[in-house]
């Protein structure tokens, strides 16, 4: 190999090491070498360079760490390599209907300092919205990035349909269509800006967990305000040619079923989302309607508490919704046969009440042979998932400092 090839190989290996440390946490050099498939000598050489540049540090072994496989119980402290989280930072932004959220991403892929700006996103112009996003980022940057190294980029997770990585084709947060959000932010901050659909961002964050790293075909179903999905197929985030894929919430359960917020009837979302569950709970229990389109976490929790307490009507409500979810997952399995379906999102709060109906619906819909391969489980919801997804994408795409 010539010099350019050697340099490029070294830089590829360096990036792979950094990525593994982000996924698995601190690790001994020897474990890192095994995982990355390089010789211990090569890993030590790269680690030395990373130590010198301050991107990693040595810490005393923690055998509880995910990366410490195969060397447990020796009783002797090990020297581990860990990322120096504040080596660099990333600004993570989440645009949803009626709010902009900002958080600080660090070099290890972690997220902190989340702030929420309530704003009537649908009553202002797209240009104004992008300006407000910019101001929010600038203000946040001033207040929170002091102890960190350079800002590597901005990651934006948005509700809605993203095309070509720059354009927000449509979003429930915006009246306007085809809004280029990326270009004005790049121009203003002179930083790389990565934008993606929030469900894809969540799926990306989930797949980057050690536990799911080797799941090549993964569907992450998000229950909550709507019903969304992120798909990893063949090891890569899949969103069709245009970012419009994985609209699981708008697959159908029943022609002429309940009205969905998309305007059509009988979508899975129109049975299983928060607004659908709360609509049915209102009918059943005569609950007050505060915000019928976006019931609060407390309101949703109250219905869940009823089921927890043994209320049969509440249990039936979740069981019926679970059945629809199972039917929908049946269609998903028929079409893409994922290895794993993870059910998460705020709506996973009621998973224990949904699960029975879900398994029942699946069994009603699909012959056993088609179901045996796919595992279905829930994943506790973390508000940070969408942030962590875009932070991970920026870290994957931008060279380390």
């Amino acid at each position: 190999m010539n010099k350019i090839e050697v340099d490029s190989t070294r830089s590829v290996n360096r990036d792979r090491l950094l990525r593994l440390l982000r996924i698995h946490g601190q690790m001994a050099r020897i474990d890192l070498a095994r995982l990355v498939g390089l010789s211990p000598a090569t890993v030590s050489a790269i680690a030395a360079e990373l130590l010198q540049n301050g991107l990693v540090r040595e810490v005393e072994g923690d055998d509880e760490g995910e990366g410490a496989a195969g060397n447990r119980g020796r009783g002797r402290p090990k020297v581990m390599i860990d990322l120096v989280a504040n080596t660099a930072c990333i600004i993570a932004v989440k645009l949803s209907i009626n709010e902009i959220q900002v958080a600080l991403g660090d070099f290890s892929g972690g997220v902190s300092e989340t702030e929420t700006l309530p704003i009537d996103t649908r009553s202002i112009s797209a240009a104004e919205l992008v300006r407000v996003m910019g101001d929010t980022i600038a203000d946040f940057q001033t207040r929170h990035t002091a102890g960190h190294g350079p800002c590597l980029g901005i990651g934006v997770a948005v509700q809605g349909l993203v095309r070509g990585a720059e354009t927000l084709v449509w979003s429930p947060a915006l009246v306007a269509r085809d809004v280029n959000i990326v270009r004005p932010l790049v121009a203003r901050f002179q930083l790389p800006v990565v934008m993606m659909n929030d469900a894809n961002s969540i799926a990306s964050a989930v797949r980057n967990r050690a536990r799911y790293q080797s799941v090549d075909n993964l569907a992450v179903v998000m229950l909550g305000a709507g019903v969304g999905m992120g798909l990893v197929l063949g090891g890569h985030l899949y969103d069709g040619s245009t970012g419009a894929a994985a609209e699981f919430g708008h697959t159908k359960f029943q022609i002429d079923g309940p009205l969905c917020m998309c305007g059509k009837r009988g979508c899975v979302e129109s049975y299983v989302s928060d607004y659908a569950l709360h609509r049915d709970a209102r009918t059943m229990f005569g609950l007050p309607a505060v915000n019928v389109q976006h019931p609060s976490e407390e309101e949703m929790r109250a219905i869940c508490d009823l089921a927890d307490g043994g209320d049969e009507r509440a249990r039936t409500l979740f069981e019926q919704a679970g059945r629809v979810l199972g039917y929908g997952i049946g269609n998903l399995i028929a079409l893409v046969s994922p290895d794993l379906v993870l059910v998460t999102g705020p709506g996973v709060r009621a998973y224990r009440h949904l699960e029975g109906g879900m398994r029942q619906g699946l069994g009603d819909a699909m012959v056993e042979t088609l179901l045996t391969h796919t595992h279905i489980e829930s994943l506790p919801w973390e508000e940070d998932f969408a942030f962590r997804g875009v932070v991970g994408q920026v870290l994957d795409r931008v060279p380390a400092p």
Copy 2:
């Protein structure tokens, strides 16, 4: 580059050229160079080697050819490179319920000499079936491969679920499960054997047409005895981790709908397959039932003729089936957002009667925004598709002679 690298690059380029000639047909060296992205000199050098080995020949230009882009109407004959079809051969086998078909594949990917052996596949043991397949191949080989170069391999397209490229997990053609079809054939013929699901084989053959070469996300829906699908996602054939994906026919239209041959109710197949259409036509017209599970092409054609002739009841029957098809395609689009959905299979005979209902069903199911990107069209059915798919796979995997 060292010698091994040079040789390997040359062999990769040679295989790419051969593949392009299979897809686009005869081509001038200059067009081939443009398409493959190599210099004309490199292409000429490879072509000279291929000519010498007898894998290609020079023919007088045919400006109607798909490969002759950009040089039309010059009025001067051009020298084109074309594959020598009988340089080598491939035995293609199709295993379906109650028949084994065999055909001769050639070096250009074409198929001829198809023969059908009716056999009660479900009443004999798996071992016996594999033996009969072997005898059929051996007999066919004796009678049909004389004028051809070496046999490069055997390609097997099967109804049912294939795992790990060797095992037929289940098939309507077999009572037994988990039958290894590949190993006994390899042992007997000492040739590479490629086995794949017939729907995937068809999708692979379709994608290898010049017209669909650049469609990265392609769904091929097959209407006929059942309703099947082959999926190309991100440019690659997608069938999940286990070959169980793309069971489009068993996605659901309606809970508790008509009984499907899979044993469940309301599958798309239970409305749109030949047996479903004939079931409904029998009800409507009091037709005799000869083989309710597998109505003949003539019986299906007769229903289609009624609709062609303006019979309103027959038209309504297809329109209603089309609506279910549209709903199903709506779910497919919601989940994987393909660039193109091709409707084919023997059932495409009635596409003109299905299409109106299909578009209606799609519009009922999905908001416009999710539909705009996906194009839907029909593709006339060719019996050879499944053969050509496995022949192409053998040619892609086995080095040229």
